[in-house]
């Protein structure tokens, strides 16, 4: 799962928002929107400078942690067999390095026709390179191996690759668009070694890495061998690492950068009022109060439901997320098979008290809530929850830690409740497979993402959805899973935090995909 990491919190968002607003002066009209609109025919040339909160680490698809910082570069450098349509909320798989594919009626054989393409070193992309790359991606030692249940890979001719599966896995076609399944030249990976290739990646994507100064910037230039003639439009791309939120905003306001990512929620409105376009796009993230379902009294359904009823989610969405984040009506990311009919828990203290009264903790209890201390939305969320739950007799002790500590306490089960950073807990895929499996069908490996939540019906539905060979069965199973898991409430759902990106008006066609990256081949800059 891609994640972001906050550095030291050097400023409170509100303070800076007030300052920036004060210095902005004027009351120009708001230019909010969800995407940048292309104006006129695209122009070739120009440089796109982006101030990012991420420093890429390792661009080797087969050994990467595939955190956002690296993913966002890998998608520019590598091709995958399929990619996700953008801008498109459903992120449909569309041809990329594969021109077409067929799936056998039993759902166990995938046949891909390959495009005649070249890697940036001039070597042709062969079926053998695809076999090698997908073999590495699906190896048991691969960190993302679980996304690729491939039993065998065949290459009947140089332009065809056949994937054999043991059981149908309709989510696979989406997994193949995730950069862990990037197609890399076998010879270059082997001659460079994994570590070297991670620093000098070679792919068949639209861009090549021309300079990489760790902790400072990574520069891209067009790949002269890119198969899509006429693309990319940009002459160069500079991805600057700017860890401080306020500095990124100043960069985009002064024109030092054209695009700045991860705009704090509270600063979106002031920034828009000062005339900067901020695009707010849906993500695959969930922000929930993760509960440890193995400790009393959280192992009791009534207690968990009471906590859900006692949570004023709309206040949280308003205060901590500046009304930019939709309220969750399920405990899963909002992806392709989202069930809009599931009812969220209304804020109902009477109902919560009633449920608690008949639970094993009728007089309330004390709950430790671990949060990342440097994250402003987490702090605000925790304070609202503390005040609200106190009214039903649940005393919340907020414990502030750094990210690494939060994560290890979570993964070791040493927690009662925990909040991750809002866009930290994200699906790698635009379909529900990864979270359905991770939350409900992976108890043996990691206690269902360390929630210690077990629900036989949810598990059965997850398995059914992940292996159904019929789209209607699959969709129905996902829909029912969302109903069942919302009733079981393993965690208290809060909001789906969107991406917030400041984009100057000269930048066109810049969009995020649901899974946290932004294809740059069709982006262009005007005068």
């Amino acid at each position: 799962m891609p994640y972001r990491r906050t550095g030291i919190a050097v400023l409170t968002g509100l303070l800076a928002a007030a300052l920036l607003a004060a210095c902005g002066g004027g009351t120009k009209s708001s230019t909010g929107g969800s995407t940048t609109v292309a104006a006129g025919p695209p122009q070739h040339g120009g440089t796109l400078t982006m101030a990012r909160s991420y420093d890429p680490q390792n661009l080797n698809p087969f050994t990467c942690a595939c955190e956002n910082g690296s993913l966002q570069v890998m998608v520019q450098v590598f091709d995958t067999l399929v990619s996700y349509a953008t801008p498109d909320a459903t992120a449909k798989p569309v041809p990329d390095l594969a021109t077409s594919w067929t799936i056998s009626p039993d759902g166990k054989t995938y046949t891909f026709k390959l495009r005649a393409a070249q890697f940036s070193n001039g070597q042709p992309v062969t079926a053998q390179d695809v076999k090698y790359s997908l073999g590495r991606a699906s190896a048991p030692t691969s960190a993302y191996g679980g996304l690729y249940p491939i039993a065998g890979i065949e290459t009947p001719n140089s332009g065809t690759v056949v994937l054999k599966l043991k059981t149908p896995a309709p989510g696979l076609i989406y997994s193949l668009g995730f950069p862990a399944a990037s197609i890399a030249p076998e010879s270059a990976v082997k001659s460079e070694g994994d570590a070297g290739f991670g620093q000098h990646p070679i792919g068949s994507g639209p861009f090549i890495v021309t300079r990489w100064l760790h902790g400072q910037e990574l520069d891209l230039a067009p790949n002269p061998h890119y198969w899509h003639t006429g693309l990319p439009y940009l002459h160069s791309v500079k991805l600057m690492y700017v860890p401080n939120d306020n500095t990124r905003i100043l960069d985009v306001r002064t024109g030092t950068a054209d695009v700045a990512d991860e705009i704090p929620f509270g600063q979106v409105k002031p920034l828009r009022e000062s005339g900067v376009n901020v695009i707010v796009t849906p993500s695959s993230a969930i922000d929930t109060v993760i509960l440890n379902n193995s400790v009393a009294p959280l192992n009791n359904l009534k207690v968990r439901q009471a906590l859900a009823y006692a949570t004023p989610v709309s206040s949280i969405a308003k205060v901590a997320f500046a009304e930019l984040a939709p309220i969750m009506n399920t405990v899963m990311p909002k992806l392709k098979y989202w069930n809009s009919a599931v009812k969220p828990y209304p804020y109902d203290l009477a109902r919560a008290k009633q449920l608690l009264a008949s639970s094993p903790a009728p007089h309330g209890f004390t709950l430790q809530l671990n949060i990342v201390g440097s994250d402003t939305p987490s702090k605000e969320t925790a304070q609202i929850i503390q005040a609200a739950w106190a009214q039903v007799g649940v005393k919340v002790e907020i414990k502030e830690y750094d990210y690494g500590t939060i994560q290890s306490r979570w993964a070791e089960g040493h927690y009662q409740g925990t909040l991750l950073i809002p866009d930290e807990d994200t699906s790698d895929l635009p379909v529900d497979d990864e979270y359905a499996h991770g939350l409900f069908d992976n108890y043996a490996a990691d206690k269902n993402l360390y929630s210690y939540y077990q629900n036989a019906q949810a598990q059965k539905l997850a398995v059914e959805a992940l292996t159904a060979n019929s789209e209607s069965t699959r969709s129905a199973a996902f829909h029912e899973l969302q109903e069942v898991s919302m009733a079981g409430v393993p965690s208290v759902p809060l909001v789906w935090a969107p991406y917030r990106t400041a984009v100057r008006s000269n930048v066109h066609a810049f969009n995020y995909v649901l899974t946290g990256w932004f294809p740059l081949q069709e982006v262009w800059v005007g005068k």
Binding site: G7, I8, C23, N58, A65, P140, H214
Partner: protein, 301 residues
């Protein structure tokens, strides 16, 4: 030479601290969805499953031969990550020291000469105010004023040429200087006042020596000895100051790397940085001793 035991002490304490802190670098790296089997496999590849004394010994023996092993986060050699960043931090600290001195020496003189009069009070008030402001705040205000309102300097960036480095480091250097110079001004001022009251100063003035010569040659030089020692202590404060300032201005130096590495629990990088910081502080102390001997003939090395 007590530098070697000091260094070993520094590395031992930092090694113990970072391993006592909860948080597993491999878990942080791979994220929540990695299976325990994936985590175990990577821990083994990175050598994190060996005993702590074995890991420490490998680090220590490597450090004295200039090899710091492999970064967990970047999956490449530590020296290739740390090496290019030394220059940025060194330049930032040098620049900040220069600005601090250029700011502090004239102001301290003004305050000392105008002792207890309006000028002195104004300088003392001003330094109290800037001393109380946290450096991230000063940095943001400077950016808003100089970058956004006036458009003179970029709010972030380090560039690739020396001129770009200097341009990018100007605001960070001023930020550090504003937080450090108050102390220096205060100490230099009282030292100057003491010296100005000394009998030899009155004697020189009585002999009709030019005031400029009295102040520059005798008063300043005699007051500087304590200040130089202070500057070497400042160096350590500056190293920690770079942590915040590099983050604010996106300077690819050692301070911002240290923050990122601690968050990621990238043990080899943290150990290499504490080693380098230890060496730098020891060298700064040594340099101060040499400078003091040059200023004051009574001091023998």
């Amino acid at each position: 030479m007590d530098a070697v035991p000091v260094l070993i002490g520094v590395t031992l304490v930092s090694f113990a601290l970072i391993h006592l802190t909860p948080g597993d670098p491999v878990r942080i790296l791979l994220g929540g969805h990695a299976t325990p089997a994936n985590v175990a496999a990577l821990r083994h590849t990175l050598g994190l499953d060996r005993s702590l004394p074995a890991q420490y010994w490998q680090f220590l023996s490597g450090a004295f031969t200039g090899s710091f092993g492999q970064s967990i986060e970047y999956r490449t050699s530590v020296s290739s990550i740390v090496g290019p960043r030394i220059g940025a931090s060194a330049l930032l600290i040098g620049y900040a020291l220069l600005v601090t001195i250029l700011l502090a020496v004239p102001l301290a003189f003004l305050a000392a000469l105008a002792r207890d009069r309006a000028g002195d009070h104004a300088i003392r008030l001003g330094t109290t105010v800037t001393f109380a402001m946290p450096s991230f705040w000063v940095g943001l205000i400077l950016s808003l004023l100089i970058s956004l309102q006036l458009g003179w300097l970029p709010p972030s960036g380090y560039g690739t040429t020396f001129a770009q480095h200097v341009e990018g480091l100007t605001l960070p250097a001023i930020t550090i200087a504003l937080s450090l110079s108050p102390l220096l001004i205060r100490i230099l001022r009282s030292s100057l006042i003491d010296t100005l009251g000394a009998e030899y100063v009155s004697a020189m003035r009585a002999r009709g020596q030019r005031e400029r010569r009295v102040l520059g040659r005798h008063v300043l030089r005699n007051s500087l000895t304590s200040t130089v020692t202070l500057l070497s202590l400042f160096f350590a404060v500056m190293l920690s100051g770079t942590v915040v300032v590099e983050n604010v201005f996106a300077i690819p130096g050692l301070g911002s790397l240290l923050v990122a590495s601690v968050s990621a629990r990238d043990f080899p990088i943290i150990q290499a940085l504490t080693f380098i910081f230890g060496v730098a502080v020891i060298l700064a102390g040594l340099l101060a001793d040499v400078a003091q001997a040059a200023i004051d003939p009574r001091v023998r090395l």
